[in-house]
Symmetry: C2
């Protein structure tokens, strides 16, 4: 049963996305051009993500801090590649407290500069290392187009910035965080990802290399979903982060940075959502279970509150929809909001000593004895939903992953139905740019563990260095 307010996903995917965001009240456009308002339902998902991922950060020895939101121009300019990468898209503060500032300040687009400046002040000896800091904040990039959760001038993220005494340790951190991202996507968001190193063209401005996790949306468009950068000593040299090593000699430190953002909410919508609205994996859903009673009498009320109490006590996020709307309206609302499990407590059902349980992912309805041991039943059901969502997404991703042995093949795939396209590449920028002419196809990442398909670059025919996954991106 489709929702009238939502355009069919197969008819117009972009409009479907906007409709889901609006109908599920996740975000709305603000009167500040290019900025969105993260409404309660949308922000609650972000809170769940922060809560779960922050636990993992703390468990692995990371600490949260808060750096200033503004960066003086001279500090921003110290590392040349970074500023040339970000200059076209930053916002500048030029007036403060009715005065024109002597030096303009940009609103952080990312905070390598501030963390590096801080580290240059506090890192003295190898004993101070590693320092593994993180912040949850919003950053600004002056984007021209706005799509809630995918691209807007202000977005929310975590940015981790670490400094280490050795290359090996910094490289391990880069890899560890990249793997933590992958596992978070798979285990919490139920989203499979393709992973690997970015090409030189696509890596982060200022990084020695970048690892990325890439997810495929239902329509076959790729979404860069999390990146982890190794900086070597580049920023340490630009910002003078030196420490006395074990041999009592001054040495430049080794750094990393890594981030995931509220794009994740966009990915959740576009990977799991359907024509009825949002579909949330139980492990990240702010509300896991909603109980709706149909008809009202003593028995209905007592069964409802009994179920509620049992689930609540078991640590399940449950609520009762006791508004004065009709049951049908409540069902539709639970569906559009993507609540994984709906329990219906009906007067007639109770005459047969049963309740009805509906799962959002498949729409299936189950008749269950009212005396069923409800906590293990629901926990098991939620595990099943979580797993089913992942398997469905994986199947879709596999169906939309292609191998191409010629440019014609790439063109044909992208015309018919975009997706991930595996193809050999010689490593040259020219060939990467040539691929881009096909509907903006870009390299997603280098598959380091896999061998080239034919051994020849798909564009120039010269010897292939890498097997690369290509895709059209958000």
């Amino acid at each position: 049963m489709a929702n009238k307010k939502i355009t069919s996903r197969d008819v117009d995917f972009a409009q479907w996305y906007t409709d889901v965001v609006t109908a599920a009240r996740l975000a709305s456009y603000s009167n500040v051009k290019g900025f969105v308002i993260y409404e309660p339902n949308g922000y609650a998902i972000w809170e769940r993500i922060m809560h779960e991922f922050d636990k993992q950060l703390k468990a692995t020895g990371h600490q949260n801090v808060a750096m200033p939101m503004l960066i003086p121009e001279n500090l921003m300019n110290k590392e040349g590649e970074l500023i040339s990468g970000f200059a076209p898209e930053v916002a500048w503060v030029t007036q403060g407290g009715e005065k024109t500032l002597e030096e303009r300040l940009c609103i952080r687009p990312t905070s390598e500069t501030l963390f590096s400046d801080y580290y240059s002040n506090v890192v003295k000896s190898y004993r101070d290392l590693p320092m593994k800091l993180n912040q949850w904040c919003s950053v600004l990039r002056w984007e021209k187009e706005t799509r809630p959760f995918l691209r807007s001038r202000e977005f929310f993220w975590q940015e981790g910035h670490t400094v280490h005494a050795t290359k090996e340790e910094a490289e391990k951190e880069t890899m560890d965080m990249f793997q933590m991202y992958q596992q978070f996507f798979e285990n919490y968001l139920a989203i499979p990802v393709v992973t690997g190193r970015k090409t030189e063209k696509e890596k982060f401005a200022g990084a020695e290399y970048t690892y990325t996790i890439e997810a495929l949306m239902h329509n076959g468009v790729a979404l860069q979903s999390g990146t982890s950068h190794y900086f070597g000593q580049k920023f340490a040299e630009a910002y003078n982060i030196q420490f006395l090593n074990k041999e009592n000699k001054l040495e430049y430190a080794y750094q990393t940075s890594w981030g995931i953002s509220n794009r994740m909410i966009g990915a959740l919508i576009m990977v799991h959502g359907d024509d009825m609205g949002l579909v949330l994996p139980p492990r990240i859903a702010p509300k896991q279970v909603v109980i709706i009673s149909i008809g009202e009498d003593e028995k209905v009320n007592s069964v409802t509150s009994d179920l509620y109490q049992k689930l609540l006590n078991a640590g399940i996020s449950v609520s009762i929809d006791d508004t004065d709307k009709s049951p049908g309206f409540k069902f539709a609302e639970a569906e559009v909001n993507g609540i994984p499990v709906r329990i219906e407590v009906g007067k007639r059902d109770l005459e047969n000593d049963v309740i009805t349980i509906a799962r959002r992912d498949t729409g299936e309805k189950m008749t269950v004895s009212k005396d069923e041991d409800i906590v293990p039943y629901i926990n098991h059901l939620m595990d099943d939903i979580q797993d089913n969502l992942y398997q469905k997404a994986l199947k879709r991703q596999q169906e939309l992953t292609f191998e191409a042995r010629s440019l014609d093949e790439v063109e044909k795939i992208m015309e018919e139905h975009p997706g991930f396209v595996k193809a050999d590449w010689c490593g040259s920028l020219d060939c990467e740019m040539k691929m881009k002419e096909i509907k903006g196809t870009k390299s997603r990442c280098i598959l380091e563990q896999e061998q080239p398909l034919t051994g020849k670059c798909i564009v120039c025919g010269k010897e292939a260095k890498h097997l690369v996954v290509w895709g059209i991106q958000y």
Copy 2:
């Protein structure tokens, strides 16, 4: 035993404050003028505050959202009093993405404008009301002087903004939140507060009235610690927030806003801290217990890890300091960081089957059987510390609360030792300004429940309308 890095509190209070902030690594000055860096130890306290207070917000039906950080000038200007109150201290973005903007945007100093604009779009009927939204964010005010946690250009806070169908309901919300602040200060921060309504001069720009909680620092200086504002229909009229009421007539909505900020960390330092550093109440301390072993052998290690596991399992925030520093160094560090309870597991102590437990608030050391039932012991001790800190602070506040019956008396008190001064006031701005000439003494709040002392205004001698608490403020 004083800490060498910390100036004595009685010698130079301002320097003592700075020394504690630095020695406990709570915050440091950044290279961005007027901005501070919230370091791990400082930010961890803020996280604890957010965690505890956010639970209370959610339990009372508030929902979190995120509004844009930038406000277009025309939107900011719609309510006249607000903008005239904030205009001198906002920062303006005039350039975005290499272009000069057609309209400048200010970085939010507070977000009444954005919430009101949002409400004007989404509030249609009394059925949509109340809407009780909140955001945790940072805001900017272009302050000239910087003191970490007390006054800096960027600070962190929560700002709640609610909209209601009736005056009564909005006034109740104003009062409920004000009381929630008071209880949070007393129950979690162990800080007693004086509470009441602000005078016209001191109320929030644009509010009909403001309620405030005011805390007294160890040196007798007052700190405005949390405010709750009732707006009536002022913003609703300026931003056109109208709804169909139960009689099906259009009516302007009633609003409130309220906030508490990272000033709370400044209050924690200045109310409870001493010459050894920070002193944190157990209910808000990020680390409640630290275990330090002295000497190393199998028995020491096994007792240490056994204690750790028991406390951890009981939900107590405990850590083992297993760095290779000396025990004395570790003790000092635990003290400067304000960790409420320190457990020492020593080789020699264990020969007598005891461990040593030290409480940070009094410095007292207790010898306890190693077979003591440690969880209830520590929980009881922490309750005792929490209570002791509150009682000590209350006693200090009472000692530094004076009654004055003449301007001379006020002057004498403020010269000898500042504090809270109760004095009668006629209600005129002139008399309030006259008080300010005495070392900047300002009204803190009107004591609505208390009767005037003499019935005559302390300044002009005319009939007193209110008993007011006055103080020198941060």
